[in-house]
Amino acid sequence: MRYVVANEDVCIGCRLCEIACVVEHSKTKDIVKAYKFEEKRELPRSHVEEVGPVSLSITCRHCDDPRCVAACITGAMRKGEDGRVTVDIEKCVGCWSCVMACPYGSVGMDKEDRKSVKCDLCGDREIPACVEACPNRALIVVEEEVG
């Protein structure tokens, strides 16, 4: 199983991971267009929490027994055979049951469209965009054998 974790000791709170995530999930995958010209700016799937000197980027653990999936009222939230937990936005009704259930606070809320947004490990990308963008290698991809 794959997921991304942060080492808080080296996270500097620059939020480049969030920006890379927005760009990766945009239509054009171009930073200027993604932020300025696309009809709608995508939301980052990871979020940086910061208080005083502590900062760290938090994103989905793609849990073995995902609580977001258990709580999803429509079956929009699913764990795929490859282990990724993703949301089918056609089915999502924005009830936020998944937000209520994720112990990590890793489901984002697109309040405008009332759809949940979360890490999908960047499709076919070998290295997720956030990990690639982190200037201080605070983000790493963890690979675990599926039990």
Binding site: Y3, V5, E8, E49, E50, V51, V54, S55, L56, I58, R61, C63, D65, R67, C68, A70, A71, I73, T74, G75, E90, K91, V93, G94, C95, W96, S97, C98, V99, M100, A101, C102, P103, Y104, G105, V107, M109, K111, R114, V142
Partner: protein, 425 residues
Amino acid sequence: MSKETKYVIIGGGVAGLGAIEGIREVDKEGEITLVTMEAYPPYSRPGISYWLYGKLDDTTMPLRDDSFYSNLGVTLMTDCEATSIDTKAGTIKTKGGKDIPFDRLLIATGGSPILPPIDGAEGLDMVFSFTTYKDAREIGKKRDKIKRAVVVGGGLIGLKAAEALNNIGVKVTVLELMDRILSLAFDKTAGDLVAKGLVEAGIEIITEDTAQKVVSDGGKIMEIVLRSGKSVEADALILAIGVRPRVELAGGAGIDVGRGILVDERLMTNIKDIYAAGDASEAYDIIYRERRVTPILPNAYGQGKQAGRNMAGTDEPYEGGLSMNAIGFYGLDTISIGLVDPPENGGYDVLVRLDKENNIYRKLVTKEGRLFGAVLVGEVERAGIFASLIRDGVSIAGLEETMLSGEFGHVHMDRDLRVKRLERR
């Protein structure tokens, strides 16, 4: 080679679906048969209100694709009611008179709507309940004939029905017997904030009153007379005061039943190899520390899944249910988790932050430094952290202030706690 285990699941709700997934985690070969009396494979029950106003449709209602069942080798029997269980022979009988043998059985029969007796309501075709896809479709079919509707019940289901009807242009009046709506899952402040939003959206709410009589003319509803003597013009009546566990099938087979079907910590009933899960059952609850009926979807799925695993040979206790509800009416996001109205002499502390103007409200229920309940209105981001802190019973002493703010996250915890809580579990 040993013979394949035969699993039979009665009830195609989310608990039955969870059981399929739980069984298949452990046993890839055994035969699974899902028997359900509805016409559809497992679909989103909470989705019926969204279906009624078009946010979900027939393609998005099923919880899983058809291929899901065929890929996992599940035999789906829809329109098939189980009428009895022979615990000795290890068979169930269906309405058609067929016997289906099982080695392991799950009873996941859910709940049935409670229908209050109302004078003159019987036999009218514009009186509905609101718990099934069929109910929603019936209402949908007759929507042109519904200009005004009365919904009996100001709980989650009644309000969901009211919202959907209001969204399709029906003038709706909700009747609630208590002095406030959502009295089961939310506290008064949250209920009042939600009520305000519903009224602003055009829904009428009448509390401390209920429907007593239906006045009809030639089968057509004219008005609903309330207990107070008031009357409300209407052409449809929706009964949504709640559901009760559907235990008749289990009870009839000699399985122990309280309010719901009683199960042990492994979700097995008093009869070996027969399990129960979901709204039909009474399983362990982590807040009340006893068996309890908590008819919510995450519990039903979780119980179904754990029962499924245990049926397939994993011998693990159910982690325990935790009541939680997320609702969002007209843009006001509202979440309640755990104990939200603690008993006065129970030694609980209650902390609140209320910003009425901006519709923001937060409430924490704590005891001896641990979190037992939370209500979040307006700011619900990362609510799952609250649920997780309740579930794990860890000390939150010192965190209360930040937890009342909308900013609260892992970064506010001290390092040891944070590191531990961010580990993948």
